[in-house]
């Protein structure tokens, strides 16, 4: 560990699964927080995939699940770097005692089970607070910890729909469209990470912990809240308009030479519009009254699309982009996976991390979400295999003797081999 780690003094006991919770704790682990990811051997994080998956799934190296598939799944491995991985069964009496010891030395507990799951095991906030009085406990069910829908479940794809995001996404005159990711998840993960830090800072000043109630749905609505206010003002639901902008024109994606290659243009003001006319060799457009102001251009966006579509059609998407950027026109190619890894800008900035995992070999992963001049993030180790750090955490952190750890293992309270899975 070279550089100082701003969050090194915080220990987070992380019971969360899939993406929203793990994205929250990944942001914190990247900045030095000690994150202990706890899984059950019976219901491990479903991002590890099934115990014996069908062959051919591309999330495994060379699409081969291989031995111990649960340790080779990229969905899991891209989210848990620098976290400790332990297993523990909370349904076993011995497991409960260990858990309570873990809680007593943790600053934060994070979970995104279905609402009430942990309470049914006897661990609600009030109980955990007896063990650790200044604990910060973040509970992240889909719809929060109160209200008529509190027992309902939802995934990132559902949150896009229940927040209004999907409603306003889609091709013109067509139905709503999901994003290519489960966008509700990282939105909640990031909100939660920031608020947990605010709660930790508050605790530092006052000595008080707190219960942090996370409704993933409320988090997603909050992000696009301007549209909720806009609707009350205008009385109109947001329109699905493909790649057009409700506010500026011309904006769209235009097909270029090659298969499924596109350049995007995103003009936002008159100066950029005049530069665009010049950049595409049609300076007379700048004086065309149909396109004089942003309002005019919004009205005549179809004509603009025809002109720009015709211009882009035979061009390489990179040439088109450079030609426009040279004149300061907002433009960019639609990048695919290989383009991202081969991109000079991202390479120059070290955007992606190349991490060697013992069960998959070295692979590329998403990098740090930001750069810090004094305390840059670090990948300390790859995502843990199931139960990888059991011995280390239980022995070194809790001081449990080796024989007792052996007991826990032979009793099935901890381990490294799953006994069941529940995959969504």
């Amino acid at each position: 560990m070279s550089a100082a780690q701003p969050l090194k003094n915080f220990r987070i006991l992380d019971l969360s699964r899939i993406w929203a919770g793990p994205y929250c704790t990944k942001l914190l682990a990247d900045m030095g927080a000690e994150v202990i990811k706890m899984e059950s051997l019976r219901v491990y994080d479903s991002h590890r995939g099934p115990i014996t998956p069908a062959p051919g799934i591309a999330a495994y190296p060379d699409s081969d699940p291989g031995e111990e598939a649960w340790n080779r799944n990229g969905w899991f491995n891209c989210l848990h770097m620098s976290k400790y991985g332990i297993t523990l069964e909370l349904t076993e009496e011995k497991g409960r005692r260990v858990f309570e010891e873990l809680v007593s030395i943790s600053d934060v507990v994070v979970e995104n089970f279905r609402q009430g799951s942990l309470s049914r095991l006897g661990y609600d906030y009030e109980t955990l607070r007896q063990i650790r009085p200044d604990l910060i406990y973040a509970s992240m069910p889909a719809f929060g910890n109160s209200g008529p829908w509190q027992n309902y479940v939802a995934y990132g794809i559902g949150q896009e729909q229940l927040s209004g995001m999907a409603h306003m996404t889609g091709y013109a005159n067509d139905g709503p469209m999901k994003s290519g990711i489960n966008h509700g998840d990282p939105i909640t993960g990031s909100h939660a990470a920031g608020v947990l830090l605010a709660a930790l800072r508050y605790r530092r000043r006052t000595g008080k912990g707190m219960f942090v109630d996370v409704s993933q749905q409320e988090s997603a609505v909050a992000l696009i809240g301007g549209e909720v206010v806009a609707y009350q003002i205008s009385g109109e639901e947001p329109e699905r308009m493909g790649n057009h902008s409700p506010w500026f024109a011309p904006q769209n994606a235009y097909p270029c030479a090659g298969e499924d290659r596109w350049v995007t243009i995103g003009v936002t003001n008159d100066t950029q519009w005049r530069s665009l006319a010049e950049a595409i060799g049609q300076p007379e457009l700048a004086d065309d009254p149909r396109f004089a102001t942003n309002q005019d251009r919004l009205q005549h966006r179809r004509e603009l699309d025809q002109i720009l579509g015709a211009w882009a059609a035979d061009k390489d998407m990179w040439d088109a982009t450079h030609q426009l950027q040279e004149k300061n026109v907002p433009a960019g190619p639609v990048l695919r996976g290989p383009d991202l890894l081969d991109n000079p800008h991202y390479t120059d900035r070290g955007t992606f991390n190349y991490v060697d995992h013992p069960r998959t070999g070295p692979k590329w992963y998403q990098g740090f979400a930001w750069r810090m001049s004094k305390t840059p993030g670090q990948v300390h180790w790859p995502s843990p295999t199931l139960g990888q750090h059991n011995r280390q955490i239980y022995r070194e952190l809790l001081g449990i003797r080796d024989e007792s750890i052996d007991d826990l293992e032979s009793g099935g309270v901890i381990g490294t081999k799953p006994t069941g899975s529940r995959i969504i």
């Binding site: 990229g74 999901k178 608020v195 996976g337 750069r371």
Partner: protein
């Protein structure tokens, strides 16, 4: 106790979406956020419709009102000597600066990290920009669509035979603003521990790459590119958005052990066919499964379908519009909306806290309406020692 972040002071040089969402989170959590705006026109997002008041659109745009709750507005012409000096005086007293100008702009104004840390070594300065403060695309111009494209999200959104699609809301910018909030809080801990400030460089395009989920990973793992799959989940069937009687619903046909419930809900023995029992089986027979579900879906309303799924343990959802959201029984029951009255815009219900910390003793979040342009000039400059005459003088000189 007024807000979790009471006592934190932020000088806010942001505009449009990304920066203002970051400082909205800080302000609404109780930090004092002083938003520096251009004299006359202010944050250009003030020009984005719809406007509640046609006579004063600059004070009543929906997105401006939403993104600037709980902030103070001070106008400063940063290109003037006096304007810059005032900015430096404000920064000297602050914990945090957030800005989202194009890289180089703060430097040309004499307000880059070097200058600011000169007057305040413990300062956290958060810079949000399209492509970051370094690298060959540093000076590229971009709007949401371009960032969605170059960040890799656009290629995997939309129908396979249709153009790549952006999302309707400016999620790259807003998401980058969220992450900037986390980054800022992280650096604040370091600054308070060590009295060492630092500069954060957050690129919106990199935000997009950071939430790519598995598109990047999968290509690196197996050489298989993620593709656009429309409304079906990637590698899944009976998983996505479907039409129903009064709109659209989200059908989630998993986990496998819950799938038999779908045939109960939709009253279709054919859906219980063992060929559809596994995720792989449904994928191989995706069109057939869809055809069996559709007639039932088209005869039922979205909220009823949603609840029918949920009551059987399935994570169904529905596509909510803005009216649906305002009326949603869960949000109403949880008192989610915050009503704010604005002297020009009027009274609206604003989405409330994205996360609800509850200490039982205080309001973690503090909601105040967005400021009028220059509303806090007198108060803030007063704190710097200007009396009303001095403030008038600055106004006459065009500094504020």
């Amino acid at each position: 106790m007024p807000g979790l972040l009471e006592g934190v002071k932020v000088i806010d040089f942001t505009h449009y979406f990304a920066g203002p969402y970051c400082t909205k989170l800080l302000a609404t959590l109780g930090a004092e956020v002083i938003k520096i705006e251009r004299p006359g026109s202010g944050d250009p997002i003030r020009a984005i419709p719809p406007f509640a008041s046609q006579r004063q659109p600059g004070e009543s745009g929906a997105w401006f009102l939403y993104l600037n709750t709980s902030k103070k507005s001070v106008t400063l012409d940063l290109k003037t000597e006096k304007g810059r000096d005032l900015a430096l005086k404000l920064v000297a007293e602050a914990d945090i600066v957030v800005e989202n100008f194009a890289p180089g702009v703060m430097g040309r104004l004499g307000l880059d990290y070097e200058a600011l840390s000169g007057v305040n070594p413990a300062l956290v300065m958060t810079s949000i920009s399209n492509y970051g403060q370094t690298g060959p695309y540093r000076d590229w111009k971009a709007d949401e669509i371009n960032l969605y494209a170059t960040g890799g999200l656009m290629n995997i959104t939309g129908e396979p035979e249709e153009p790549p699609l952006k999302e309707g809301a400016p999620l790259s910018q807003l998401g980058a603003g969220q992450n900037a909030f986390v980054a800022t809080m992280t650096a604040l801990f370091h600054a308070e521990d060590t009295e060492e400030g630092q500069h954060i460089d957050l690129a919106i395009a990199e935000y997009a790459t950071n939430v790519l989920e598995n598109a990047l990973m999968q290509y690196s793992y197996s050489g298989v590119e993620f593709t656009r799959v429309g409304n079906r989940g990637y590698g899944r069937a009976a998983w996505g958005i479907y039409p129903c009687q009064d709109g659209f619903v989200g059908i989630i046909a998993g986990p496998d052990q819950n799938w038999p419930e779908v045939s109960n809900i939709m009253d279709s023995e054919e859906l219980a066919d063992p060929r559809f029992a596994s995720r792989q089986g449904r994928l191989l027979n995706a069109d057939e499964v869809d055809a069996l579900m559709l007639p039932w879906l088209l005869e039922h309303d979205k909220v009823d379908i949603f609840k029918a799924g949920q009551d059987h343990g399935l994570g169904f959802s529905f596509v909510a519009g803005m009216q649906d959201i305002l009326e949603m029984e869960q949000l109403v029951a949880r008192d989610y909306f915050v009503e704010l009255d604005h002297p020009i815009a009027g009274n609206y219900r604003y989405p409330g806290p994205p996360i609800s910390p509850d200490s039982g003793k205080f309001e973690a979040w503090v909601y105040r309406r967005a400021p009028l342009l220059a509303e806090h000039n007198l108060a803030v400059l007063g704190d710097l020692g200007y009396d009303s005459q001095g403030v008038e003088q600055l106004f006459a000189e065009g500094v504020i």
